[in-house]
Structures are given as structure tokens and as C-alpha cells.
């Protein structure tokens, strides 16, 4: 009896969870953010600077989704991390932002979030900001950002 009830409860819980997930998915589909990619961020990329692509410029201020790699986080939990096109190869003496690739995207999370392993591919959704900005808290200068963001493992 006991076991039967447990199974029933479990089944009911799964059903409810399934419903919730379905509802959430429907909601998510309704507000599906535009997907951008590292390859499409720039229309010109050179030694003397770069220009954002027309698509990125047109999506400024809107919710977008971008897949990349989480750079080694400074802290296990943070509201801030750097998204890179490729996993970073790092040496102990180039472990400063001075040596980071130029085409990074800085991600400011909606809330403090546990970080995942560097080298894990993540899908980040957030509001797209472009243009030079200095983060008052960390002093980090960035050209392109996703703010109020959240991420999932890719």
C-alpha cells in the first residue's frame, strides 16, 4: 500500500511538473529571443578596431540569445562573466584581461548565479547592449554586453 501511494504521488508530481514545463515552454516560445552568433557580431574586424554588424546594431536593446564558452570565472558565484567564441587557452602569465580575445561578450546576470566549468558551452539570453562602457563595480571595459541575463548549459 505504502509503495503504491508513493508511486501514485510520484506519478502525479511528474504529471504536474510536465504540465508546468509545457506551460513554461509555451511562454518561452512566445517571447523567443533573436539568436545571434559570434560569427555574426561584426561586419568588419581589423587591427584598427571593428564595426558591429547591421543585425547586431538593429537588435540593440532587445532580448537576444548567444552561445559561447564561459571564460574561467573569478568566483564560483558571480553576476558577471565573460563569454568567448572558443574555450580559452591560458598560461599563468597571460591570465589577465589584457590577454583576453577582443571579441568577447561580457555577461551581467540578472542575479548572482553559480558558474560552471570553463570550457562548458553555454547559451546566454539577455538584453543586448553595444558601445564602450565601464562597469562601475569591476572597472571592466566592454564593447558588447548581455545584461539582465541568464544562461543554460548548451
Amino acid at each position: 500500500m505504502q509503495r503504491q501511494r508513493h508511486e501514485m504521488l510520484t506519478t502525479r508530481r511528474v504529471t504536474l511538473m510536465g504540465l508546468a514545463v509545457a506551460l513554461l515552454c509555451r511562454e518561452a516560445r512566445a517571447a523567443e529571443p533573436a539568436t545571434i552568433a559570434f560569427d555574426g557580431l561584426y561586419k568588419s574586424f581589423g587591427v584598427l578596431g571593428f564595426q558591429f554588424s547591421d543585425r547586431v546594431t538593429s537588435l540593440r536593446g532587445q532580448e537576444v540569445r548567444l552561445t559561447g564558452y564561459m571564460a574561467p570565472p573569478l568566483k564560483p558565484e558571480s553576476h558577471f562573466f565573460v563569454l568567448t567564441r572558443e574555450p580559452l587557452a591560458i598560461c599563468p602569465f597571460c591570465q589577465s584581461d589584457a590577454d583576453w580575445p577582443v571579441d568577447i561578450v561580457v555577461v551581467f546576470m540578472k542575479e548572482i548565479t553559480p558558474m560552471v566549468s570553463a570550457g562548458r558551452k553555454v547559451v546566454v539570453s539577455g538584453r543586448l547592449e553595444i558601445g564602450s562602457a565601464t562597469d562601475p563595480e569591476t572597472g571592466f571595459v566592454s564593447q558588447i554586453r548581455l545584461v539582465d541575463a541568464r544562461f543554460t548549459l548548451a
Binding site: F45, A89, C91, C94, D99
Partner: protein
């Protein structure tokens, strides 16, 4: 950039913690060898913040100010810290032996300096210093095997750097560590002084700001101050990176890239080539890494430099007879020979017209050789080291071959004129060795099964050489087995990574511990290696092993036996007779 500051504050803080306290500290330090007439900052730090009445400093028994012919300044509680400081910025001394004594109550600290003269007339018109960053003996051996071939115990040729008249074993330690980094190691070559990890053109004192530490003059500054010789700095790393920066920089923290760009502009080497353009661009330019509005592209142009951003532009500038050249060919490091030639990975698609170190060396020599008073050229093959950090030996060895081809260009330039001193030297070693060969035809399923050692080590079957001496195929069935002695948790695939530079480890979810990069753990032979480095290491580390220097030309005969790295500066300064006012 606060993140950077944070990282280095930790590094510097721990370095200080290891320093013994309570004694007076004198800079330059004991056993310093100082070029006659060269500028250096004299500093004495007194613990517990005494007043000037409580201390005395003498040089050869006389007041310091009398010996220097200039007054010193005394600051109690320097920067609010618990020490007092006596300073003389920009001191010089005539040749001789000096004993410096700093007395504080009953405590006396003593250091001895040798200020060395250089004999006239000058013996070399030109000096070309090649630095193979992190180039260990196995790099040379593997480069010889890959680019010359091996048959029945003999190589089918010598490297250009092998076939030079003189050789010495060089020790690379810094003042604070037997294992040093590229900043401090290159600083020893360009200043003749020993200093600490992370430092360029300074001794590591207690100053809080990285740019305030006691400075020593670099060879580029000595040359520019004294006369009309031209200076060239060529690398395939970012130009602000440690080795090229050591020609011009004075900072306790090598990652002060934005300040280092300004220091390049202050010293004005005639040829400056490498990657790392973002630190030249004002903050508002997308792609900039500056934190201010300074536009160093514009400033260098105003100072008479031709700007080249591609190989084509570089060659055009040389053909047009430019006297000053700023070449910036990548936002980061210039791609290495392996990716430029075989994979076209890395950033090759973004920067398809980058010159390699050989082409840069040719261009630099063509531009500098017209100078009647000669030139000093530093050429670095930077990624030999960077790829060894990534445990990516194939790429490291390709860049060793590239360095050797650049040395060949210099030897051809020097010809039989006997007026050019050429030196080829690593700045430090990596723990890298060749232990045999992998043969895919050996029975077994594991990487260890495929390894042949001693008599089972069959000759490798790398593809035919191209016109520049690089093998055209490296992902072959019989390959060198190269091992690194230091590594984080990682996976060894036993074959080159044709998709891009190896990433041996990645940061784990705790943000501190590094774990194997699973990308390398799934191949048919992939072998999991439990790291032998501290858990926070993400790549291989340098080794304290001595390195091999080879040299030719006037002054090269002084390289023999075993020498400290500072001796390289001394030989170059003597060959160019840089002593005196």
C-alpha cells in the same frame, strides 16, 4: 582594469610575504653589475619608519650624495607604509667597485656593486638578439628532426642556430625565484640586472604603484640616449607582452599593457612589430582595450611612423624607404607557423595577411640596415613558450623552426662582414623532452601500447618538407613522443590538434581547481593524466633548467662555459661600447 589588478595584487602580495623583513634593503641589490654611465634609481628602504637622523648611507665610506654628485631625498613612512625611504632617481656612476652601507641603529646592511666600463672602439656595428621564448633543448632537437630529418643516428642537416661559432649555458633565475618568467628573464638581457617575477626594468621594492619602483635603464634607452643607432623590436606576441616590452618598460607588473604602449612611444624604437593593437586604440573605438581616450596610432603617425596592419603594408613601407615602422598585425598574438601553414585555424581567417617572424625579420633588417650608425634588433619567437604552456609541442616546435629560419635571414645579412653580433638565446626553459616515438601500427589499444622506446622507437614519418623546411604533414602514423614534466589534470591524445591550439585544462565549477579539458579525453588513444601541478594550475609551467645560447660575430667569443643571463647584456654592451656618458 580592476580584474587584472586583482589577479596581480594577489601575486605581488604573496611575493612580498615571502620577503624577509626587518633588514634595510638597498637597490640596486648586492652583486649588481652596472654599465658605466647607465641610469639607475638608487633606493634604500629602512624598516620601522625611522627618521633621517636615525640612519646613514655611505658608498665607499663617503656620503651617498657625495659619490653620486647629487642630493638624495628621504621620506619617512613612504606612502604611509611602515618604512622610510632614501631615493636618488637617475643616478650614474663611473666604472669601479662600490660598497654601499646602510646603517640603522646597530643594524648595518651592505651590498657591493661592480660598475663596468666598455672598451673603445666599438667592435660591433649591429647586434641582433634572437629570443626563443621558452625554447628548451628538446625544442631544438625536435626542430632539427622535423626540419632536417634524421637517418641512422645522424641529422641530415644543422639548424642555422646550431651552426654558430660560440655557445654557452645560461642560467635564468630571478632574485625571488629559481624559476622565472619571461618579463624578468628578458629584463636581465635588456638591462643586465636581476629582478623578480613579473618585473620589467625595475627592482621590486615596497612601492604600492607598479610604475614607482626603482628603475634601471634598458639597452634601447641607453642606445637612444647616447647616439644615433637605430632600434628594432619584433615579435609574434602582442607587442606589449613581456619580452618585447623589456626593451622599453619600467613596471612591477608586466600586464600594464596600456602604460607599456606609452613607454614604447617614449623610447621610440625605429621598428616596432607584433600583435596587440587594442591597447593602441582609444577607449571609444570598438575593439579597444584602453581605459582612456589616448590614440597611440595617431601619436605614432605624428612621430613619423608608417603604420602597417598587414604583410603587404609592411613590405610596401620597406619598399617606400620608411625610416620608422609601426607594424600591428593582429589584435592578439600573431598566429604561429603551424596554424599559418597547416590548419589555417586560430585567427588566420580574421587576419589572413599576417607576416610571420621570418618575414618580419627580413623587413626589419631591410629597414634598419640603412642606418649609418648601425642598429640593435631584438627578434622574439614568442609562441614557442605559449604553446608549451598549452602542452602543444607540435606548435611549439614549428615556431622553433620559424625562429631558426629568422636566424638564417640574419646570418645571410651578416654574411662575412664581421660587424654584426648575432645571439640566439631562450629566456627560460620548459620541462619538455623527447622519449621515443608513437607508432599506430604497434599492437594494443592504449597510447602507452603505441609508444616505442630505445630500440622500439621507430623513426617518425612526417610528411615531406616544404620550401621553408617545415614538414607538410604532422598527423602521421609514426610521431615523436614528446612529454612535458609539468601538467595540470589533462588528457594526452598523442597526436597534434589540427583544430587549433590545445587547451589542456579548464577551470572547474568551483572557479579555482582546474580539470582536464574533456575535448581531448575521447579520442581512440586519449590517456588521462592526473596533474602533478597545484590544483589551480591550468597549463604547464616554466623550468629552472639552464638554456643554450649560441652566438657569432664580434664579441661572440665571450660566450663560453656557464654564465648568468645578465651576462648577455654585458657582452652586447661591450660589443657596442655603450659605457660612459
Amino acid at each position: 582594469m580592476q580584474l587584472r589588478t586583482l589577479w596581480h595584487a594577489v601575486a605581488i602580495g604573496s611575493a612580498f610575504a615571502a620577503t624577509p623583513v626587518a633588514a634595510q634593503t638597498i637597490y640596486p641589490i648586492n652583486r649588481a653589475e652596472i654599465l658605466e654611465g647607465s641610469r639607475f634609481d638608487f633606493k634604500v628602504e629602512f624598516p620601522n619608519a625611522p627618521t633621517s637622523a636615525d640612519v646613514a648611507v655611505t658608498i665607499n665610506g663617503k656620503p651617498a650624495a657625495e659619490i653620486f654628485g647629487k642630493g638624495t631625498t628621504f621620506t619617512q613612512n613612504e606612502e604611509g607604509q611602515k618604512h622610510s625611504a632614501l631615493w636618488l632617481r637617475g643616478a650614474t656612476l663611473p666604472a669601479g667597485n662600490y660598497t654601499v652601507e646602510a646603517t640603522q641603529g646597530t643594524n648595518k646592511a651592505t651590498v657591493k656593486w661592480e660598475v663596468f666600463a666598455t672598451t673603445q672602439p666599438r667592435r660591433a656595428k649591429n647586434v641582433i638578439l634572437f629570443i626563443g621564448d621558452g625554447m628548451s633543448v628538446a625544442n631544438r632537437t625536435a626542430a632539427r628532426i622535423l626540419s632536417k630529418g634524421w637517418d641512422e643516428g645522424r641529422y641530415n642537416g644543422e639548424l642555422a642556430m646550431d651552426d654558430m661559432s660560440n655557445m654557452a649555458l645560461i642560467s635564468t633565475s630571478g632574485t625571488d625565484s629559481i624559476v622565472t618568467d619571461s618579463a624578468n628573464a628578458a629584463h636581465a638581457y635588456t638591462t643586465g640586472h636581476k629582478s623578480c617575477v613579473n618585473a620589467l626594468g625595475v627592482y621590486c621594492a615596497k612601492n604600492a604603484l607598479t610604475l614607482d619602483h626603482p628603475k634601471v635603464e634598458t639597452i634601447a634607452e641607453v642606445i637612444k640616449r647616447r647616439g644615433k643607432m637605430a632600434i628594432g623590436v619584433v615579435t609574434n606576441s602582442e607587442i606589449e607582452d613581456a619580452t618585447p616590452a623589456s626593451m622599453v618598460a619600467h613596471t612591477r607588473r608586466r600586464s600594464d599593457f596600456n602604460d607599456i604602449v606609452k613607454m614604447f612611444h617614449d623610447v621610440q624604437p625605429d621598428v616596432i612589430m607584433g600583435g596587440g593593437s587594442p591597447n593602441f586604440l582609444p577607449k571609444t573605438t570598438p575593439g579597444s582595450k584602453r581605459t582612456d581616450e589616448l590614440d597611440f596610432i595617431a601619436r605614432f603617425k605624428e612621430a613619423g611612423y608608417t603604420l602597417a596592419t598587414t604583410k603587404t603594408e609592411m613590405n610596401a613601407a620597406v619598399a617606400a624607404g620608411s625610416k620608422k615602422l609601426l607594424g600591428l598585425y593582429n589584435t592578439g598574438n600573431i598566429d604561429g607557423a603551424f596554424d599559418l601553414r597547416l590548419t589555417r585555424k586560430g585567427t588566420v581567417s580574421k587576419f589572413p595577411d599576417q607576416p610571420d617572424v621570418v618575414e618580419q625579420t627580413k623587413a626589419a633588417l631591410d629597414l634598419l640596415k640603412g642606418n649609418e650608425d648601425g642598429f640593435f634588433l631584438m627578434v622574439e619567437s614568442a609562441r614557442i613558450d605559449k604553446y608549451s604552456h598549452s602542452l602543444d609541442w607540435e606548435r611549439s616546435v614549428f615556431d622553433t623552426i620559424m625562429l631558426d629560419n629568422a636566424v638564417k635571414v640574419a646570418k645571410d645579412f651578416a654574411g662575412d662582414r664581421n660587424d654584426t653580433l648575432i645571439i640566439v638565446v631562450p629566456d627560460h626553459a620548459h620541462p619538455i623532452s623527447i622519449i621515443g616515438t608513437y607508432d599506430d601500427d604497434r599492437p594494443g589499444q592504449l597510447l602507452r601500447d603505441k609508444l616505442g622506446v630505445y630500440a622500439d622507437s621507430v623513426p617518425p614519418n612526417y610528411g615531406p618538407l616544404d620550401a621553408d623546411g617545415y614538414p607538410t604533414k604532422v598527423d602521421t602514423s609514426r610521431r615523436l613522443a614528446v612529454v612535458y614534466g609539468s601538467y595540470p589534470d589533462t588528457c594526452d591524445t598523442g597526436r597534434p590538434d589540427m583544430t587549433g591550439e590545445r587547451v589542456p585544462a579548464v577551470k572547474g565549477p568551483d572557479g579555482k581547481t582546474n580539470i582536464a579539458n574533456e575535448k581531448d579525453c575521447t579520442g581512440p588513444l586519449a590517456a588521462r593524466r592526473t596533474g602533478n601541478l597545484p590544483f589551480d594550475a591550468n597549463s604547464g609551467v616554466h623550468a629552472a633548467d639552464d638554456v643554450i645560447l649560441t652566438a657569432m660575430g664580434p664579441g661572440a667569443e665571450k660566450f663560453r662555459g656557464h654564465k648568468p643571463n645578465t651576462y648577455v647584456f654585458r657582452v652586447m654592451a661591450e660589443a657596442l661600447a655603450l659605457g660612459g656618458e
